[in-house]
Amino acid sequence: MPQVPLADYLILATVLFVIGLVGFLVRRNPITMLMAIELMWNAGNLVFAAFARNFGDMTGQVFVFIVITVAAAEAAISLAIVVMVFRHREDVDVDDISVMRG
């Protein structure tokens, strides 16, 4: 069974990360932006998993698990904030939210 080279995984992860990054930077819909963040999380996870296999070490995989957990927590809180901002302003264009006061 021919192995896929490590470098390919890494570059794939980079491409995913960059798509997420650009998405985060150019979109103004907070929900889409959050999904872009999820993409970046996943790109990172892919790197961890690839290296775990490469080094034959479980630490990378454990880290992915923890990242998934934290990502879940992050998503929950972020979405809660989005909901609240929407309630407050009836509008969730990120560019319109530039002050920390309500």
Binding site: Q3, V4, L6, A7, D8, L10, I11, V15, L16, V18, I19, G20, L21, G23, L25, V26, R27, N29, P30, I31, T32, L34, M35, E38, L39, N42, N45, A49, A52, R53, N54, G56, M58, T59, Q61, V62, F65, I66, I68, T69, V70, A71, A72, A73, A76, I77, L79, A80, V82, V83, M84, F86, R87, H88, D91, V92, D93, S98, R101, G102
Partner: protein
């Protein structure tokens, strides 16, 4: 194996672009589901069986459902969120430039430094028993800390969502 990787890779990139580019958040969520599933397959090719399961269950199952709920909640009036020019309209070009630059740099670095793969991994890498052993012995502190993070997140969400109005 190589074929599987490339199929997944194409799916991943395509859906990722769809997620970012779609005007409708719901379409994004759908794209994201496909994306996550393809990633789970990649995890399998990396001998990470447990992670593949977690990817499907937590991401596709829990987080994306959360997204769907919020979308459902917010788009009551059906007005699109991104109307007209944003305040940072001319940020697109630098953002893409930065992304491309990052991509190029990393790809260059990776090509230079990680051009060769290591030897074959041990046979039990990524199996559920091995994962469980690692998680609950070596990394038990991180595991506990994650639990604490989740607790904080729960409290935070309850606090924020529980009130009608919050000044922040």
């Amino acid at each position: 194996m190589v074929v599987l990787f490339w199929v997944c890779a194409i799916v991943l990139v395509g859906t990722a672009i769809a997620v970012v580019g779609s005007r409708q958040p719901v379409h994004s969520v759908v794209g994201l589901i496909v994306n996550f599933s393809a990633l789970a397959v990649l995890f399998l090719t990396l001998s990470a069986e447990f992670l593949a399961m977690m990817q499907i269950i937590i991401y596709a199952g829990a987080i994306l459902v959360l997204f769907l709920f919020v979308i459902a909640l917010l788009t009551v009036g059906n007005q699109p969120i991104e109307t007209g020019e944003g305040r940072l309209a001319h940020q697109t070009v630098p953002a893409i430039a930065a992304g491309v630059a990052a991509l190029g740099l990393i790809a260059f670095g990776v090509r230079t430094a990680w051009s060769q793969s290591a030897a074959s991994p041990p046979a039990d890498l990524g199996t559920v028993p091995a994962f469980g052993t690692a998680l609950l012995t070596t990394h038990v502190f991180a595991f506990e800390a994650t639990a604490f993070v989740l607790l904080v997140a729960i409290i935070g969400v309850v606090l924020m969502a529980g009130r009608k109005e919050i000044r922040f």
